[in-house]
Symmetry: C2
Subunit: 308 residues, 2 copies
């Protein structure tokens, strides 16, 4: 029986512009590195292998809370030791907490002979997200676990749909400013205009159709958010310029990753994705804001588990 | 050169439950029968071959207004004589006015050697819809012209997407009560809760994915409208009972056709569609409301033109 696994838990982009709270996709890079060990005591031990000083008390730790939810459905005879080396910076808006939660439960499930379904794993990992942001959301966890582009048609009851997509290159810029998920959620209006909602679900329908039909133009035209982005983008200096200029150099479109501050752009080919990176770097350099960029692609496999 | 054509312009279902103002599909039956003749004068002559006493003054007639819009983009040397035999009852909520408008412009375009694109035809036919309901909407016209299930991602500028679908049987009941499109629109709230809008676009995404992936279960689960139906269904006696009981006998789901009063239900096979018809008949018989039912299927070709 395998007692220890290494796990790569990828970064993810939630919302995908118009698909607020329902769409998300996984990235090839960056990813967190984790080691999970099955132990003979019903406890969780968290070992941080990075400098983020994240809490190690299991109920306060995202991976710990997710594992506690999983252990609630076990017989109480085993536990887990988890080493976490975070490569996805907390607060970057590309699913850092989801990677910890999803990586932990996928790794644990592997050690248990894959007894839980992916829906179960999403459910457990959501308990980790609750520790991070106060809300049990699944739009990062689902693509992190399943890979590719995922749709959460309904969260209670959970109804997850995997959406195929054409090859997509992704450029992400993480400006080193702080946007708390909690605050990004607070500034949203509880009510929206029906006419805007209709535009939004027209775009959501276009985006899903563009993905499944592998129609890049339709996909690009549909990457428009008339409800959330106009409010949240105010929190991200340079947002409008980045978006306009990236589209000028050939990006299909993009927007805020999750609740920000990272911005992502989709491109049809890597050459364009690299041009987009240059534009992003220029804007934030001129604004005098430190930033980090990633040029990567959609990851179709989700969390990867390796026997050690 | 062909001088006369016969046209079959099908009934259509707009909205498709969660897809308010963006989705619609064409039906195999009923359809309007029209005859169009190219004439050497730049005028329009409307001849009604039914008992509905619809206006014959071209700007006041749905087909006439659509043809006037088309003729605005011609050289002013030809016109059209149109005989209309309406089989789709006006006010039934299955796109009676759209059929007249779409049938007229598709037939006229055929006589002109198909010089206009389908986007042009949608644009012309929308001028007919404006005469009928005061609003330039395209959610019946588009499936009527193109056939199948259509998505209007955006209306200004027009962006229409055809969506493939699995075989679907459709049962429609038209209770003989009056619901004016104008009034059905007036009772809607201008503002909606963001949380409801998110549910709705989750369902829209699920419905589009269900259609394209030919996943009947997903399609059925996604046929849920938390925004429009709770308000509009109040205008249709028996609505909730019809819906519940049709699903009990196996319908995938359904709802109000357009702005009502017709109700449609989708089924995987004809046997279920016939059971659904029985249920619909029982409910309206018991309520003492006259009704008419159709058991039909999605029509994938749209308006049909025959040379005479």
């Amino acid at each position: 029986m395998v007692k220890q696994v290494k796990v790569h838990a990828p970064a993810t982009v939630a919302n995908m512009v118009c698909g607020f709270d329902i769409l998300g996709f996984a990235l090839e890079a960056p990813y967190d590195e984790m080691v999970l060990r099955l132990i003979d005591e019903p406890i969780i031990r968290i070992i941080n292998k990075d400098d983020y000083n994240l809490p190690t008390n299991p109920p306060d730790n995202v991976a710990g809370a997710a594992l506690l939810a999983l252990m609630d459905e076990l017989d109480g005879k085993v536990g887990f030791e988890v080493e976490i080396k975070k490569k996805i910076k907390p607060g970057s808006g590309i699913g850092s907490s989801a990677a910890s939660a999803a990586g932990a439960v996928v790794g644990a499930n592997y050690l248990l002979g894959n007894r839980f379904s992916s829906d179960d794993l999403v459910r457990f990992a959501m308990c980790g997200e609750k520790v991070a942001s106060g809300v049990k959301h699944a739009d990062n966890i689902t693509p992190c676990i399943l890979g590719g582009v995922t749709l959460i048609r309904s969260i209670f009851p959970l109804d997850v749909v995997q959406l195929s997509s054409p090859a997509l290159h992704v450029t992400v810029v993480h400006p080193q400013i702080e946007v708390k998920t909690e605050n990004a959620r607070k500034i949203l209006k509880h009510q929206v205009e029906l006419k805007d909602a209709i535009k939004q679900w027209g775009n959501v329908a276009g985006l899903v159709a563009g993905l499944l039909k592998k129609d890049y133009d339709l996909l690009g035209r549909s990457l428009e958010d008339v409800i959330i982005e106009p409010i949240r983008s105010i929190l991200i200096p340079g947002f409008d310029e980045v978006k306009t200029r990236c589209k000028e150099v050939g990006a299909l479109g993009g927007g805020i990753s999750g609740s920000g501050p990272s911005i992502f752009m989709l491109s049809k080919d890597e050459a364009t994705a690299l041009k987009v990176e240059t534009v992003m770097a220029e804007v934030f350099t001129r604004l005098g804001i430190d930033y980090h960029t990633y040029v990567t692609a959609i990851n179709n496999s989700g969390v990867k588990v390796f026997e050690e």
